[in-house]
Each structure stands twice: as C-alpha cells, then as structure tokens.
C-alpha cells in the first residue's frame, strides 16, 4: 500500500499529483500488479483533499490501463506504465549526475540548470513533432 503526498503550492493539480505518484511507484517497483491502492476514504482522511480528486485520478489511471476498480473490493494495479525497466533509469541517472556536476563546475546554479533542462525539453519536443 502506498501513501500520497499532496503539495498545495506545487502548481501541479492535486489529482495529477496522485496520478504521477502512482505511475512513479509503478515505475520503481514500489507498486506491483495485483497490489491494492488505498481507498478514496483512506486517501482523503490521510491528506485532506477532495474525494472527487481521488476518484478523478483513479479514473485517469484506469483509462490508462494501469489500475482497475473491482466493485465492492477497491482499486488494484493491473499493468505497468510503458517505458524501460528500472535499471535503465539507474544508468541514465548516473550519466545525468555527471552532466549536472560539469554544469555546476561551469558556474550554473540550480535555477539555471533547471531552466536549461526545461528549454531543452521544450525544443526537442518541438523538433520531434515537426
């Protein structure tokens, strides 16, 4: 069973935070096929968000084929999100941290690094579409 953290000031809508945290838990193996997600009532009692927010998040995950609602039982993990296995993440994380180290050495602070990452993501996304 996983628990959620909802940051009111992140700018990310709460329902999306729930979706992202479930996807992340699936990606890193914290959640596996067959595991049960907390009930709506358990989630709202723990983090004080709107029950409809949790329902919306679970519906989104259901539409993606990642979870399924079983009437009278709860919501269970049905599949894993597309993408490479966790080992791939580990390898990429290593090369990224080497890159971050060289960026720091070149005098970029965290804000400049984030800005660079975001603009690179944006540009390459544009190139991919075009």
């Amino acid at each position: 069973m996983i628990s959620f953290r909802i940051d009111s000031h992140s700018g990310v809508p709460p329902y999306l935070q729930v979706v992202q945290q479930v996807r992340q838990a699936l990606r890193v193996g914290v959640l596996q096929v067959g595991d049960q997600l907390p009930t709506v009532r358990e989630v709202v009692a723990a983090v004080a968000i709107n029950p409809n927010t949790v329902l919306k998040a679970y519906r989104d995950l259901e539409r993606e084929g990642l979870v399924e609602g079983r009437p009278g039982q709860g919501t269970f993990v049905k599949g894993l999100p597309p993408g490479p296995p966790p080992q791939t993440h580990t390898g990429l994380a290593r090369s990224l941290s080497r890159w971050v180290a060289s960026a720091r050495q070149a005098g970029l602070d965290d804000e400049a690094i984030e800005a660079l990452v975001h603009s690179t993501l944006r540009e390459t996304r544009g190139a991919g579409v075009a």
Binding site: S8, G11, V40, V44, A45, V47, A48, N50, N52
Partner: protein
C-alpha cells in the same frame, strides 16, 4: 459514491436573483448560483461581501428580501423536515462551555431523529479529543473539531461552514479538513465552506462561488474556471475590453515596461508577443476580488461550470 449519477441530480443549492436587504443596506443582490450535489464548494470574497448572509439564507436562518433559494429543490425553513438535512456551523462555534463533548452528543441524540453517536465518538477519539472534559477547557482547535463532529453526527446532506478554520493552527486545520473530506467520502454530503485560506480551499474544494460587493462574480467547477482563464504577460500596451476579441480582460496591471492581464476566454491567444501562462487559484480569486462587479460578468458567470 458515483460521480456520474451525482452530477445528474438536482443541485444541492440553487439560487435565482437572490437578494437580502437589512433596512437600506443591501447585503446580497441578484445572486444566481448553483452548487452540485457531492461537491465541496468554496465561498470566498472580501469581508462584508455577503458570505455569511448567503449561508444564513441557505440554512433557513433568515428569509430572502427578493429572488429564490432552493436546497435540494426545497425552500429553506426552520422546520424539522428541512433541518434534518442541513447542518450549519456558525463562525462563533456555538457550544456550551461547561458541557463535555459527550454531553453535547447526548443532547444531540435527544434533539435529532438521525444521530450517529458512535461515528462521532470514533472521529473525535481518532483526534485524541477528551470526550469527558468541559469543552470550555479544550483548545480552540479541539473545540472546532467537536463542533464539526456534532454537525456530522447529524449526517446532514448539506453542511454549511462559516469560516470554521480561520483561528486554527495548521495542524488543527488539517485535522478539521480531513474529518470533513472523510465525511464527504462516506456519504452523499455537499459542503459549502467560507474561508480566506485559499491554500486549504484549493486542496479540499472542487467548486467555487466568489462574492464581491454583494454579488457573485464567479461560480463554477474550479477545474473549469481555471481552464477558462489565462495570464498574459507582454510589453506595456493599452488594452480595452478584450484581447483579440476572444479573451475578456478581467484584471490588468501595468509597470512602465510590462503589462500583465488576467483574461477569460476559450482558444489560443495568437499574438506571439503575449507570454501565456496558466492561472493559479489565488491569482484568479484576487483578480475577481479586485473588481466591483462590472456589467456583463453576471452573464459570463453562467457560461462556466456546466450549469444553467
């Protein structure tokens, strides 16, 4: 709990041109809003904008001077048939200070036909609230939680809360709000909650009614309202009425170099000189609070949130 069936049902709250005057003072004017069943609705606006007036009208504690108000299709009144379904928690938490929480629960059991004493005791025990001590000896946060516990023991279908968390510390507020959201997850409960704490409202609310200068300026689902507004930033310029004829200007700020607009409208803004960003709930609320109800806002009001 099924969202789809809930949305089809008659609104929990519906008002049509609702007006309340106290002598020559207009406390609420031309208020037409709807709150769908099962939602938690934030009621926001400057002090004196009419929030308490609206809540009292919904609770049947005062009568309209004009217009109509319906709660589950029924006119609010001080009769048992109506009051069974409606809970109201006034700002000045009404408890008998020398009575304990358990005493209050006993009294409630006598006065109400529907009374979930066990559930209320469980909720208060979970928060480690002493049930046998006079509530006058409890902290402000605990008293608010007892009051909410009592309001929920009635298992109302509509709960009206008038700034219940204003005086509470962050932890007590969190406990109060989780008690509230858990109740909404537990049965078909609709909540209207007035507060100035937008961060809290953003977490728990999915519907918004904004009153300013005694009139509603905004009413709708929070997601839809956010999607219908944008923030535009660009070089300083004069903008009147709308941007590109598609986006109505709600609020404008100028510095010698820069113009920042809050606009309302569908579709893209074409001029590449505008930097377009999503709006935050706080920005949205402040933009509408800043204006004093220009003509036309009432018409736009009805376009958002999928209601009449």
């Amino acid at each position: 709990m099924n969202l789809a069936t809930r949305e089809r049902a008659v609104p929990a709250v519906e008002t049509f041109g609702l007006t309340k005057r106290y002598g020559a003072t207009v406390a609420l004017s031309g208020c037409t809003i709807a709150v769908p069943q099962g939602s938690i609705c934030a009621l926001v606006g400057p002090n004196g904008a009419g929030k308490t007036t609206l809540l009292r009208l919904l609770a049947g504690l005062s009568r309209p001077s004009g217009g109509r108000v319906e709660v589950f299709g029924q006119q609010p009144a001080q009769d048992p048939g109506f009051l069974t379904d409606v809970g109201f928690l006034a700002q000045e938490i009404p408890l008998w200070r020398r009575f304990s929480a358990a005493d209050h629960l006993d009294v409630g059991a006598h006065l109400n036909t529907r009374w979930d004493r066990d559930g209320a005791e469980d909720r208060l025990r979970q928060l480690s609230i002493p049930l046998d001590r006079p509530v006058g000896n409890l902290s402000g946060g605990q008293r608010a939680q007892v009051a909410l516990g009592l309001a929920l023991a009635k298992q109302p279908r509509l709960l009206l809360l008038d700034e219940p968390v204003a005086a509470l510390d962050p932890l007590a507020r969190r406990h109060f709000l989780s008690m509230l959201t858990e109740a909404v997850a537990g049965w078909d409960l609709t909540v209207v909650i007035s507060s100035h704490l937008i961060g809290d409202l953003e977490r728990v609310c999915d519907h918004l009614v904004l009153l300013s200068a005694s009139r509603p300026q905004l009413c709708g689902g929070i997601d839809q309202l956010m999607a219908a507004h944008k923030v535009l930033t660009g070089s300083r310029r004069v903008v009147t009425g709308s941007v590109e004829g598609t986006h109505a200007v709600i609020d404008a700020h100028h510095t010698p170099r820069q113009t920042t607009l809050v606009v309302r409208g569908e579709g893209p803004v074409l001029d590449p000189d505008w930097d377009v960003s999503e709006i935050g709930l706080e920005e949205l609320i402040l933009a509408y609070m800043a204006q004093d109800g220009p003509p036309g806002v009432g018409d736009q009001l009805n376009a958002v949130g999928g209601q009449r």
